[in-house]
């Protein structure tokens, strides 16, 4: 994973609550065995509607997605994070994320930014008024600023997750440093636990 210190750019005002991962990337895209090639599937069904906000040329090139409560609910498919990243998004701002999506996003360097409902509503309205409005997310300081919208806020991100984003660390390599702890745990696992073979 590449390190992420700062995300700055324009935003796409999706708004909607309860956006599930079936909407972000429909299941027929999941037949692929690669990690790439998902951008054309992002919000595929909604994009078929010409009035869908993503089809509005003024928002082309947005780096931040503004969404409603419970973004990324439903299926565990990490393809949702891949499709967003491949489409140029580096962060999603929402009042609340579904747990698995949040974890998948962090693993891929897509920054999940949780802000209060009112702040997200303010940002959506501001970006709808002025699609060129810039939002800046500082991972190190855990802040979101959009002076033109009058927004300056902090967002929750635990130290560990922040460090991993900042340093772009490989989780597996980190865990393998604890080989001795893992082996010690394995030595004391109860005997009755099943083995598949």
């Amino acid at each position: 994973m590449e390190s992420v210190r700062r995300v700055a750019g324009r935003a796409l005002p999706l708004g909607r609550a309860d956006v599930d991962t079936d909407q972000i990337i429909p299941s027929h895209w999941l037949k692929r065995i690669e990690r790439t090639g998902y951008a054309p599937g992002l919000f595929e069904a909604w994009r078929a509607d010409p009035s869908f906000v993503m089809n509005d040329a003024r928002y082309r090139g947005a780096a931040i997605l503004l969404a409603g409560r419970n973004f990324g609910s439903g299926s565990s498919r990490e393809h949702a994070a891949w499709a967003l990243l491949e489409s140029g998004f580096r962060a999603v701002i929402a009042p609340r994320f579904a747990d698995i999506f949040r974890s998948n996003a962090l693993k891929n360097g897509l920054v999940p930014v949780e802000l209060p409902d009112e702040t997200v509503t303010t940002l959506v309205a501001a970006v709808e008024r002025d699609p060129t409005l810039e939002i800046a997310i500082d991972v190190e300081r855990r802040t979101v600023t959009a002076p033109a919208a009058g927004v300056s806020a902090t967002f929750p991100l635990d130290d560990h997750a922040r460090q991993r984003l900042l340093e772009g660390l490989d989780d597996i390599a980190l865990t393998l440093r604890h080989e001795r702890d893992i082996a010690a745990y394995e030595a004391r696992r109860p005997q009755w636990l099943p083995r598949v073979r």
């Binding site: 027929h28 037949k31 565990s76 989780d171 604890h178 745990y185 636990l193 083995r195």
Partner: protein, 462 residues
């Protein structure tokens, strides 16, 4: 103070705890399927890493496989072949299409006795909470985490919060386990469990069979929860005893001692508690595009203007997608298709209940009706009881095991605009195929609906 069931299982699996870091926990069983794993195996190959404990991994093929004995189309076939290749290369047991053990990942593991109380279980699938019905702590993970578990047999995860949902009282006669969980989600909403493990408690839950408990735990994710669990009891032990992977002899006795220590201590506190009176539950039918948008079968499609302000926009959009007018009685809604299956409702008890409703009756003309057993074993058991004939004589298709029409990824899809009564767990837009309209119901309501042609209870049939 005391600890809750989920806290006990978590504590017993902590490999490493250090300030400022999430706990590193050991994973007892890793279930793998063809759809979310190929990129994880590729990651291992690129990093020249192996699978740490292949004997703690089980692979199957379920999401993408046809259930109608036709060969898979080329793109699906490539993914299915990739699963077989990865399993062979990394020394993992895999049950391919046609194997006697094959089936939906959440159906086969409990059925073989691999899922046991007190275990940690993960799978690249959000319905992994199903295994919590046996008192395991089981949750869904993404592909990066699959790779992490394959390489290390551990996961670093923030400790989940705790939540108790207590359901007490006798369930009305026409209500099923499905109505218990749909009722719970209607009450706590799609984010009611975010960050938490829900423990289902109370006399109603205790009275459910293992199949029913799996239905309840299965849909924990639909309430946003990380997992769902039910404390193991005599029902659990009776279910497990004698299954192929269950402990035997002296080990069984030792396991029982351990399992009996798992239930939540009397003094333990939960972060959140919700109480539900089972006598107030009714058979539910979803009207919208998220699993909290439900009403009882006796009600009407709601008027968005009468809902809470923050629910109105979503309700309007959902009704537009579902092509439903506010005020329509649920029983007046006609369907084009009926799907009985999925990891929520494809076990033997579900098929028995549905078959009793359709026995000697005929599916309404023009309705496409499918029964898809959750595993090859469920299929065989059902056939031994003659359920396949009951369904087929009524006009249902009787299929092989798999996810089928639950997710619109294999040949079983709704056509745009088609309306389906489905025993699955998700009514998202396009979930069963682009433009398809899904209504979540219990197996008996699905069966009665297939006969009546519109939403119905078994008692409504003449």
């Amino acid at each position: 103070m005391g600890s809750t069931l989920s806290q006990k299982v978590w504590e017993r699996h902590v490999v490493r705890r250090a300030g400022g870091e999430p706990d590193l926990v050991y994973i007892d069983l890793h279930l793998v399927h063809e759809v979310t794993s190929p990129q994880a195996f590729e990651g291992l190959r690129l990093a020249k890493r192996g699978v740490r404990r292949p004997e703690l991994v089980l692979a199957t093929m379920d999401h993408n496989v046809p259930t109608n004995e036709e060969p898979a189309e080329p793109i699906s076939a490539r993914q299915i072949a990739e699963m077989a290749r990865n399993a062979a290369e990394f020394g993992i047991v895999c049950y391919p299409m046609g194997d006697a053990n094959q089936g939906i990942v959440h159906v086969i593991s409990p059925q073989m006795g691999l899922t046991q109380p007190g275990m940690t279980i993960v799978c690249g699938d959000s319905h992994t909470a199903t295994h919590g019905a046996l008192g395991a702590l089981a949750w869904g993970i993404g592909t990066s985490e699959i790779e992490h578990v394959l390489a290390t047999q551990t996961l670093a995860q923030p400790t989940p919060g705790t939540m108790a949902v207590t359901v007490d009282g006798r369930l009305p006669k026409d209500c099923a386990a499905k109505d218990v969980i749909l009722g719970i989600i209607a009450r706590i909403g799609t984010t009611g469990g975010v960050g938490k493990v829900i423990e289902y408690r109370g006399s109603t839950i205790r009275a459910l069979s293992m199949d029913g408990r799996m239905t309840v735990c299965n849909m924990s994710i639909e309430a946003g929860a990380r997992a769902g669990m039910i404390a193991p009891d005599d029902t659990t032990f009776a279910f497990l005893e004698g299954r192929p992977f269950a402990p035997k002899g002296a080990l069984w006795e030792r396991a029982l001692d351990e399992w009996r220590s798992l239930p939540t201590d009397a003094g333990a506190a939960f972060d959140r508690e919700v109480k539900i009176d089972a006598r107030e539950l009714r058979p539910y039918v979803s009207w919208g595009t998220n699993p909290a948008q439900t009403v009882t079968i006796d009600e009407r499609v709601p008027d968005p203007d009468a809902l809470a302000t923050d629910a109105r926009d979503a309700a309007r959009r959902a009704l537009r997608y579902m092509a439903l007018a506010p005020g329509t009685p649920v029983r007046d809604i006609a369907v084009d298709a009926v799907f009985i299956g999925s990891c929520t409702n494809s076990r033997l008890e579900d098929l028995r209940a549905a078959s009793e409703v359709v026995r000697g009756r005929r599916v309404k003309d023009g309705i496409r009706a499918l029964v898809v057993p959750g595993s090859m074993k469920v299929k065989l058991d059902a056939e031994r009881e003659g359920l396949d004939r009951v369904f087929q004589e009524a006009g249902f298709e009787w299929r092989g095991a798999g996810c089928s029409m639950c997710l619109g990824m294999n040949p079983d899809v709704l056509r745009p605009g088609e309306r389906c009564a489905s025993t699955s767990n998700r009514n998202f837009e396009g979930r069963q195929g682009p433009g398809g309209r899904t209504h979540l119901v219990s197996p008996t309501v699905a069966a009665a609906t297939a006969i009546a042609g519109h939403f119905a209870l078994p008692a409504d049939l003449r």
